[in-house]
Amino acid sequence: MATQSLSLPHANVSSLDRHTLGRRLVWVGWVALVLVAIISVSVGPTGLTLSSLPQAFSAALSGSDSAADAHARLVLLEVRLPRMILGAFVGASLAVAGAMMQGLFRNPLADPGLIGVSSGAALAAVATIALGSSFAGPWVRALGAWALPIAAFLGGFVTTMMLMLIARRHGTTAIATLLLAGIALAAIAGALTGLLAYVTDDRELRDLTLWSMGSLAGASWQKVLGILPFALLLLLAIPRFIRALNGLLLGEAEAFYLGIDVERAKLWIVTLTAAAVGAAVAVAGTIGFVGIVVPHLVRLIAGPDHRIVLPGSALLGAVLVVVADVVARMIVAPAELPIGIIMAIVGAPVFLHLVIWRGGALSAP
């Protein structure tokens, strides 16, 4: 009898329970992020380990002069810390951008990669690498290390603006047109990127290949600064778009009936996600699956309410990319794999599993 009274009359989890579960998920996300951050800075080929971490930290803070301390400080502050932070911001940006796009397009499979933003950013970055030694040389030399991030950001942004121009008619943005135009632009950008590979020399080609698979290997504070403003803009905007995205899940007309300024919300969401994705591609190359797998996992656990989906995706996205980077560094140490390969190996089966076994959560009615 007791067990019977505990079971719900219907198979689904109570919505109140789901929300409680979601809030717990956010807490678990914070704890997991701290743990993987510690693991991330203590893994690597140069001998700084988990046990020597407290000493390296105190050395970094006290500014001790001994050679060993200086080495540990250098590894910690100039290599591992920026790499971990970069990974966390890239992961959070990609996952939140994915979650927002899926809400905006009312399509659980939408992703910034899908509407061509990532491809546009990648094309611009590849062009910078491939043409950097020829006619684009003066600009690339003038910008130095900033050339790649700026080019990728501009590529993502220009793609988004082209999309908006194509899809905006009569003062409204047609989502279906946006999606289809995005797929076409992604195909064009992909083809041009492929063509550019023919005009590169061997060293450039290797750079380009590794970069196009995504990697945090070149992490530096400069790169952290490159993504920081865009990632922060996106993350700090989360509370402002929860209502709009929840309303948009019912459709644009319903969102308007519920008091949402739909056109303004669409414009802001597309612009902020484009900027953050462009910046992420610029500093870490193209890392797939984060924007699609992370929001799905959060929705499966806590339901589709954006009050949980957005912060949950930010945290789990950061955790996932930092973990993937740790694995990328450990698996063939002292060499490392591109993180995009790890994400595809882990992400694609998870994604397929979602599609096949939890199809109910993916299919629109």
Partner: protein
């Protein structure tokens, strides 16, 4: 409350609505009736502020709706659409709570949950509150959205006399028991002082519940007024393109009609006239 002043709406080069005046008043239920393609849903969407009229204006509390923010409107009018597809698996209760949380009203307090449960119970949905929306039947979905719209107005903190509820065929997927349940709820909202507008296909329901009927045909008003005036055989026959014969309830004289085959009706007429 909401007033359309000589409103015209043109899409492409076709006028869907031509020069219509209509006023929704507090405590009154207006039903729009008419054949398919008459412009009923278009007129409703013009009155919600979603569509902007090509000519004329729609006023809410004497202010032009086109000038007002979506947020301002959401506290004063709620809309139940004909079809609402939901791309993600919310439960019925969560959908109703969206009516409170999306307009930025406090959904965290227990009062909001109690209200949502009360509305679901009142519309006969208490048992399915925790079922996923995508597994609900068409009739259940319609009622979930009505519950959501009612919660939206209830939490808007605007006196009921300054609010309106607009429903596009709220009974189209319902059996007779639930049709009456929904219209009784709309009538109760009217008694509480709200202005109510419903697009209805069932002429008998319109006759039984509406204070005023608006008979539309090809985007213009063919007749308006109380059911006894609007539901005349010749007008209905002209609007719907088939022979219609109304009868009257002996007690109150309200018109009603029993459907009969158009073929049978014309054969009938041929024999006796």
């Amino acid at each position: 409350m909401i007033r359309a002043q000589s409103v015209t709406y043109v899409a492409g080069n076709r006028a869907l609505i031509r020069d219509i005046d209509l006023e929704l008043r507090p405590g009154r239920l207006v039903a729009i009736i008419g054949p398919n393609g008459a412009g009923k849903s278009t007129l409703l969407r013009l009155l919600t502020g979603e569509l902007k009229p090509t000519a004329g204006r729609v006023l809410i509390d004497s202010r032009d709706m086109a000038m007002l923010a979506a947020d301002h409107l959401s506290r004063r009018r709620a809309v139940v659409s004909q079809h609402t597809a939901l791309a993600f698996p919310f439960t019925a209760l969560e959908v109703v709570l969206l009516g409170i949380s999306v307009p930025g009203l406090d959904v965290g307090n227990p009062g909001a949950h109690r209200l949502a449960r009360t509305m679901l119970d009142r519309l006969g949905l208490g048992q399915i509150a925790h079922q996923t929306y995508t597994t609900l039947s068409g009739g259940e979905r319609q009622r979930v959205h009505l519950a959501r719209a009612l919660c939206q107005l209830e939490c808007g903190r605007v006196p009921p006399e300054e609010t309106a509820i607009l429903a596009d065929e709220p009974t189209s997927s319902l059996d007779i028991g639930h049709q009456l349940l929904v219209l009784d709820e709309l009538a109760r909202q009217k008694e509480n002082g709200r202005a109510v507008l419903a697009v209805l296909h069932d002429l008998n329901l319109a006759s039984a519940y509406a204070d005023e009927l608006l008979l539309l045909s090809s985007g213009t008003v063919l007749a308006r007024g109380p059911a006894a005036e609007v539901m005349k055989d010749d007008r209905l026959s002209m609007a719907f393109g088939c022979e219609v014969r109304t009868n009257h309830i002996p007690q109150n004289g309200a018109p009603f009609l029993l459907p009969q085959s158009c073929a049978a009706a014309s054969a009938d007429t041929g024999a006796y006239s």
